[in-house]
């Protein structure tokens, strides 16, 4: 399980390759499916171009919540590996904000677990975004995008 915060830019696909390589031979033999989500900071999310963003969190509580979400996913689905990593601090467009991934025998469980991790991390983990725009304005992001319809 690779769960936690990153205070500096990181390469999502390398992290996922590492997570897969960390599988035991038995788990690897049983893994038929992995479902992955990578969230990236966009430059065009508001009326003016976003130059950078500050991702605030609640040290202690945020890590605890992420770990609990990963544990909950492992209780609910038969997973072989889980990744749930979230960026904090100053972020530039194009940098990875969040990686959620689940490895399982079959695709149904992998898909469901990945979706669960993405949505619970977004709606329950204490993170707050403040955007700094090219026009000199800066403001807190006040609302989450809604969860996708199933």
């Amino acid at each position: 399980m690779i769960v936690g915060l990153r205070a500096a830019p990181f390469a999502p696909w390398s992290l996922l390759a590492e997570a897969e390589q960390a599988l035991s031979p038995a788990d690897r033999d049983g893994c038929g499916a992995s479902s992955v989500f990578v969230g990236t900071m966009r430059a065009d999310s508001g009326p003016a171009q976003v130059l950078r963003m500050h991702l605030e969190h609640y040290p202690g509580m945020t890590e605890r919540m992420l770990a609990r979400m990963a544990d909950a996913a492992c209780s609910r689905w038969p997973l072989r590996q889980v990744v749930l990593v979230h960026r904090v601090g100053w972020v530039a467009p194009g940098e990875t904000l969040v990686v959620a991934a689940a490895w399982s025998a079959h695709r149904a469980e992998a898909f469901a677990a990945c979706r669960y991790l993405v949505e619970t991390a977004k709606h329950q983990a204490p993170f707050w975004k403040r955007e700094c725009r090219a026009d000199g304005t800066s403001s807190w992001v006040t609302a989450n995008t809604p969860a996708p319809a199933e």
Binding site: G39, V118, W128, K129
Partner: protein, 77 residues
């Protein structure tokens, strides 16, 4: 002693990041009133006691950390 913390836009709005209150059995709501001089709580205000989400009626004891913050906005688009 009870530690009170404010995060994100709420920290800016309240003009304070952390505050210590004298101990004494009370609720999250009473901690808010004491820490903010009875400011009107913003809509969708969230609270946590000792790093766990908590209701406004939840009890608070000596040594607890109580945090107030706005709705979370992490994750991706």
């Amino acid at each position: 002693m009870i530690t009170v913390r404010f995060f994100a836009s709420l920290r800016e709005r309240m003009g304070q990041e952390m505050r210590l209150l004298p101990a004494g059995p009370c609720t999250v709501r009473e901690v808010w009133d004491l820490a903010t001089d009875q400011a009107q709580p913003p809509t969708h205000l969230l609270a946590a006691v000792n790093l766990e989400y908590a209701d406004f009626d939840a009890p608070v004891a000596d040594g607890d950390e109580v945090a107030f913050f706005p709705p979370v906005t992490g994750g991706a688009a």
